[in-house]
């Protein structure tokens, strides 16, 4: 009995060769491009795209930078960039604001980060840190630490005092760099939409405390940040910052002037105001920012936010973790400046 001959249903090789070959690229809709090949297994559009990419890849570094800068400037001049509901301008933050901070972070304060793996790559979370340094540079450094060194390049959305949003020039910069007012509504809105929020609950008590009280945590507000985290069901990540206390050591406070100007304090440091503008240069301390293990809040449930005792205890727990980490880091550091 002769063997059965296999007849290919699609007509075999010759027929397939008659059908024009399809482009191997994926279209914008995520489906395979349906147009026929011109060369190199690609249709005319995708071939041009490929050639442009190759040209760009062979272009020297400065040319690519120039192209990037020109595109950025055009976007700025024509207002063609997205702003989120809080006024966060990612385009400006990534290209200008953080770039301006980077030398200060890398070269001046030589910030060392630890425990970045404790920050989740996605989803809402609340970073709670100690506040110090007369001006809130510690917040900016924490923001840059997470953006530059966390694998997910997350933006820390900081919660600031209303003084920030009342002050000309500072107010728009704060909003554009991702800050918003420290109130429950904004904190919950940020965290429930999956953002990484940052809060410095000591506030002015922490940042404006005398040098003699350095690294002694002040009262943690009213624990509002804990109830916001509970309501949003996001983890709390304690963060300890060492080094910021020494940048502008406060030895005095001109209370009369502060009351006159409506500021929480007017600092006197060994260099300010004695050296004039020179006194504004911070001391080059060596910084360590350590992120501690996250404290989960989701299993406690939303109702836990209305239990003042639980909120107090949790606030104390976070405060205690930060304080202990601060002591540990202080013991391990060799000197203030190295």
């Amino acid at each position: 009995m002769p063997e059965a001959r296999v007849i290919p249903l699609d007509g075999g090789g010759p027929v397939r060769s008659r059908r024009p070959e399809r482009c191997s690229e994926t279209g914008e809709d995520g489906k395979r491009c349906r147009r026929s090949v011109v060369a190199e297994g690609r249709c005319d559009t995708h071939l041009a795209q490929l050639q442009a990419e190759q040209a760009a890849a062979t272009a020297p570094e400065w040319e690519r930078r120039l192209a990037g800068t020109l595109a950025f400037l055009r976007r700025r001049v024509t207002g063609d960039y997205p702003i989120d509901d809080f006024g966060f301008d990612a385009d400006l933050t990534e290209h200008v604001l953080l770039s301006a901070l980077r030398p200060i972070y890398d070269k001046y304060f030589r910030v060392e980060t630890r425990g970045l793996e404790n920050i989740p790559s996605t989803g809402g979370a609340l970073v709670v840190a100690n506040h110090s340094g007369t001006v809130p540079i510690d917040a900016l450094m924490t923001q840059l630490a997470i953006y530059d060194h966390h694998p997910a390049k997350r933006h820390l959305r900081m919660l600031g005092a209303d003084l920030v949003f009342r002050t000309p020039l500072i107010a728009p910069l704060a909003r554009k760099s991702g800050s918003t007012l420290a109130c429950n509504e904004d904190a919950e809105r940020l965290m429930s939409s999956g953002e990484l929020a940052g809060v410095w609950p000591e506030g002015f008590k922490g940042i404006g405390k005398p040098f003699a009280e350095r690294y002694k945590l002040q009262r943690f507000g009213r624990g509002g940040f804990v109830s916001a985290a509970l309501r949003s069901g996001v983890p709390i990540i304690p963060c300890s910052i060492v080094g910021a206390e020494e940048i502008y050591p406060i030895v005095g406070n001109v209370k009369v002037l502060a009351r006159l100007l409506g500021f929480p304090y007017v600092p006197v440091t060994p260099t300010f105001p004695w050296l004039g503008p020179l006194g504004l240069i911070p001391l080059p301390s060596k910084w360590i920012i350590e992120f501690g293990e996250p404290i989960a809040t989701d299993e406690m449930g939303r109702a836990a936010a209305d239990d003042p005792m639980l909120v107090f205890n949790l606030t104390d727990q976070v405060r205690e973790v930060i304080q202990q980490t601060l002591y540990k880091l202080l013991l391990s550091r060799r000197s203030v400046f190295f």
């Binding site: 040209a55 272009a59 020297p60 040319e63 120039l66 192209a67 020109l70 595109a71 055009r74 700025r76 001049v77 024509t78 207002g79 063609d80 960039y81 997205p82 702003i83 989120d84 509901d85 809080f86 006024g87 301008d89 209303d162 003084l163 949003f165 009342r166 002050t167 000309p168 020039l169 107010a171 728009p172 909003r175 554009k176 918003t180 007012l181 109130c183 509504e185 904004d186 809105r189």
Partner: protein
């Protein structure tokens, strides 16, 4: 809730742009028997079969009209935002607050009334540095009001709530609109962006939110023909920064230091360009954003235009002279890059 379709609709402020458009739209709806428009001047735009009653809402004639025509739906849209046309702040307050009181008094007495739709404003939230990023309908203003549109609107809303309490059988819909914008509407903000140079407050860059005129009209129409009891924020999704809006309009911003703003403001006012009240100066410092979740879910209308799209539609529709043309800029950018590439290819 039993659906009670509107048959006879009375619209106040019908000679103003939005009132006229709503009247024309309702007049084109065969389900509505009569549309009665009230205003102190006759409407300029085509309002279809709308019957026009020339009266001030403070006039007792309104009560007679409501009673004799068996009006079942009142749309109150004549709360005015600027003292410009009214002839001063006192007259403006008179029209807004006393007018609303009188109108609502007439409404309360009308047994035929089933529905009250009031066009309010997000200005009732004020603007201050202590504001949350987005206001939800239940939030209270943090700003201090002395006088102006926001204050008037808060009082108007108070009277509207009062009527809602006294006449629980009336469905009250309170719509808080963000700043209207679009190719045709004329508001203080559209005049502001049409200025040759746009003043801003030095050191501040507020978030602003717009609602497109078409979305606004559609929300008002649905509030009349469907039953949507409650208070709703109405705004396009997203926000714009003032600086960004000025750039998108191709205008040039002139930052004015905060203490000088009121002086510049009165200059503009005298020139008849734009009115700058203290509350508008606050708005130019701190801006405002509202949450529109309730509009999208409970009311069931997701606005078609995002804030940015509404603004772009305004810019395109007004054909403002753009000092900075994005297309030319993009072409110039491409030319520079091409030139560099050609030189490299040469070398």
């Amino acid at each position: 809730m039993v659906a009670r379709p509107s048959k006879v609709v009375l619209i106040t402020g019908v000679s103003r742009y939005l009132g006229g458009r709503l009247a024309a739209m309702l007049a084109a709806d065969p389900g509505i028997e009569r549309v009665i428009g009230v205003d102190v001047v006759p409407p300029r735009q085509d309002v279809g079969r709308t019957e026009f009653v020339r009266a001030d809402i403070r006039n007792p004639i309104i009560a007679k009209v409501i009673a004799s025509a068996q009006v079942d739906t009142v749309v109150h849209m004549s709360v005015i935002a600027t003292p410009f046309g009214a002839g001063g702040r006192t007259a403006m307050k008179e029209i807004n607050v006393i007018g609303t009181m009188q109108l609502l008094a007439a409404c309360q007495k009308a047994p035929s009334l089933r529905k009250l739709v009031v066009k309010s404003t997000t200005a009732v939230y004020g603007s201050s540095s202590r504001d949350a990023a987005l206001f939800t309908e239940g939030m209270e203003p943090k700003a201090q009001f002395r006088s102006g549109y926001g204050k008037d609107s808060i009082e108007v809303e108070g009277y509207v709530r009062g009527l809602g309490r006294r006449r629980p059988d009336v469905d009250v819909t309170l719509l808080r609109f963000a700043n209207f914008i679009g190719p045709r509407i004329d508001t203080p903000l559209t005049r502001f962006f049409a200025l040759p140079v746009v003043p801003s407050v030095f050191g501040f860059d507020p978030r602003i939110q717009f609602v497109h005129e078409d979305d606004g009209i559609e929300v008002l129409r649905r509030a009349v023909v469907e039953n949507r009891r409650g208070t709703y924020n109405v705004a396009g999704d997203g926000v714009l920064l003032l600086s960004q809006a000025i750039r998108r309009a191709g205008r040039v911003a002139v930052p004015v230091p905060s203490p000088a703003v009121s002086m510049v403001g009165s200059l503009f006012r005298r020139a008849g360009l734009v009115d700058f009240s203290p509350e508008q100066v606050q708005f130019l410092e701190f801006g405002r954003g509202v949450d529109t979740t309730r509009l999208r879910t409970d009311f069931g209308y997701p606005p078609r235009y995002r804030t940015i799209e509404a603004f772009d539609d305004f810019v395109a529709g007004r054909s403002l002279t753009r000092y900075v043309d994005p297309d030319r800029l993009a072409r110039a950018e491409q030319m520079v890059l091409n030139g560099i590439e050609r030189r490299r290819a040469h070398a």
